[in-house]
Symmetry: C2
DNA sequence: GTGAAAGCGCTAACAT
DNA sequence: ATGTTAGCGCTTTCAC
């Protein structure tokens, strides 16, 4: 295991100049004679020199690693966000280091504790939906590690946050339902306490109110994000004294769960019960009838989050800011009335 | 950005002992007085000491980073593999560094070239399906960086390889089809040149031969892995002089594409045309009829790959080996004849 | 414009 | 069992 890589020392020796000059030439900082500079660059290329991040990191107190902490990557939204993050990180020469919490606040805390802060230049996080204090994040920020939250943001922390327009997306979803003639609209929501869950709820409420449609308490159910919760929530909805004629689901997985439940109960989707989801997961086009949904700009959320974080890391004065990306209604069969 | 972390020097000063002793105590190597050791450990805990990986890495010439290079993470199989990798890496204190090739051999090569080898202790890779030399991998191995291939392995390279039993899985899939009474079985395969594509093809062939069923050339189509290729391949299959009565797809996405095409052509899935996939992607249960498939042990592939790699990194003599994990037939509606 | 040398945090001889 | 010191590869004062 004793491999040796080319170092600036090697280059210096070959060129019979000092390591300091090589170092300066390589980074094009300070005044370096353009000729020597070219010489060094050429030699470095020729010798296939690669900087040793441990060494630069040790000096600069940085690592070129950015951490990502998120609940899971085995679903469309998160895996796409990660792809977006990876894209810009790679391009800018940063490694991404992945931590998966399985949506456990416990695990999240453990990760943060274990985290050798010296080994990470910044953090991209989407919080777990389990209730839990968020002090640990404050602590990290206080330690000088910038954090950018995406999608599932921690509400009361002063840090950059990238979201999609959950309120507006929900509003348009419900308005679309109303436009199709549905009147008794239910909402199967995510766990309460998560900001985007609440935003979607607010959008739902606002649209209903705007169109003077009543919302029964029994039409609103908070539960988890999985398909199975969608199924269960729907079964529960079918027991309501006043049965709803449409369901706005907080995400596509729950919407699909709802559809499965309805199909099993032989309730016609579209005619008897409209369904709309959120995300635009590819499965929307696979299920029959196809699922109307609100598209989230997942890739863009990933890219922007990473760009923001890199700015926080590299710019002296880059204040925390929030970015809300637009969503887009995608109409398919599950909300077709005829 | 001038944050200061606790160092062993700080601990040494507090305890009025030397840094060497602190270092030794912390790692429980060499002979250290148990009392001093406890003292150091307690103090480290108290001061919230975290080792600086840049420093250890610089000395040990390692980084505690392992790289993953794969075509994409936005599908069920790969995102699950990554989850498995992350699980064991995290547990063993390694960071995972993600590189996504978008299935481009070009990009793959770029990544490998850009890769600062000093910044990675080992590599987990699933090669792109685009044709391309694999010499670059040889080079990396020659440089002393261990590589473990998973799923899409490079055939002619001497390195550890983790796969699922593609041959056996395919064999059982086809045998199941035959057991259901299908006789004219087509195979919509992946790009040729990929080992697992070939293995599945061989399993298909062997089962057909074993049961003395003819295989027409026109029943075998090689193309890409996406749903859309599945759709197109199927449309093509429907033009055959002798139309097949069942399709074995190389993966679930192509199987789903096939189903979509068949539904559009109003061909009854199951009765008129049996379909079986490979992977056991959650969408198998979403599509209607539900899709019979061969389950791949994705999580386990990820875990094992990472374990193997860590062994290569840390054990002196851990020779390259191949591991084949079992698959499992999951029967659903798409192969029900009646 | 360039070189010498100190030092980032840690480990590993080498001493004692 | 513990201390001293050199050095990993690099950046950055401080000289010249």
């Amino acid at each position: 295991m004793k491999r040796h890589f080319v170092t600036i020392k090697d280059i210096a020796r070959e060129l019979k100049i000092s390591v300091a000059t090589v170092s300066r030439a390589l980074r094009d900082t300070y005044d370096v004679n353009q000729e020597t500079r070219q010489l060094v660059l050429r030699k470095a290329e020729e010798m296939n020199y690669k900087p040793n991040f441990n060494a630069t990191g040790l000096v600069k107190n940085s690592s070129h690693n950015i951490g990502i902490i998120l609940p899971t990557i085995t679903n469309y939204y998160f895996s796409t966000v990660v792809t977006g993050i990876q894209e810009v990180a790679y391009q800018r020469g940063y490694n991404i280091v992945l931590y998966i919490t399985n949506d456990s606040a416990e695990r999240e805390k453990d990760i943060l504790n274990d985290l050798s802060l010296g080994n990470i230049d910044g953090l991209l996080v989407s919080v777990s939906s389990q209730p839990g204090q968020n002090d640990h994040f404050e602590q990290i920020i206080a330690d000088g590690i910038p954090i950018v939250f995406f999608d599932r943001v921690a509400p009361d922390i002063k840090a950059s946050k990238i979201m999609q327009d959950d309120y507006q997306g929900a509003y348009e979803a419900v308005e679309h339902l109303i436009g199709q003639g549905y009147k008794k609209i239910a909402h199967i929501a995510g766990p309460s306490g998560l900001l985007f869950t609440e935003r979607r709820m607010e959008g739902f409420m606002a649209a209903m109110k705007e169109h003077r449609l009543p919302v029964k308490d029994e039409w609103i159910i908070h539960s988890g994000f999985s398909m199975d919760f969608g199924r269960r929530d729907t079964l529960q909805l079918l027991q309501c004294k006043t049965r709803p004629d449409a369901i706005f689901a907080v995400n596509d997985r729950k919407a699909v769960g709802a559809m499965l439940a309805l199909k099993q109960q032989h309730i016609n989707i579209g005619r008897q019960m409209g369904i709309i989801g959120f995300t635009n997961d590819p499965m929307c086009e696979i299920i029959s009838p196809t699922l109307t949904t609100v598209e989230e700009p997942a890739l863009e959320v990933g890219r922007k989050s990473c760009e923001f974080l890199l700015n926080h890391i590299n710019k002296k004065n880059f204040p925390p800011q929030e970015l809300t990306l637009p969503t887009k209604l995608i109409v398919r069969e599950s909300t077709r009335r005829k």
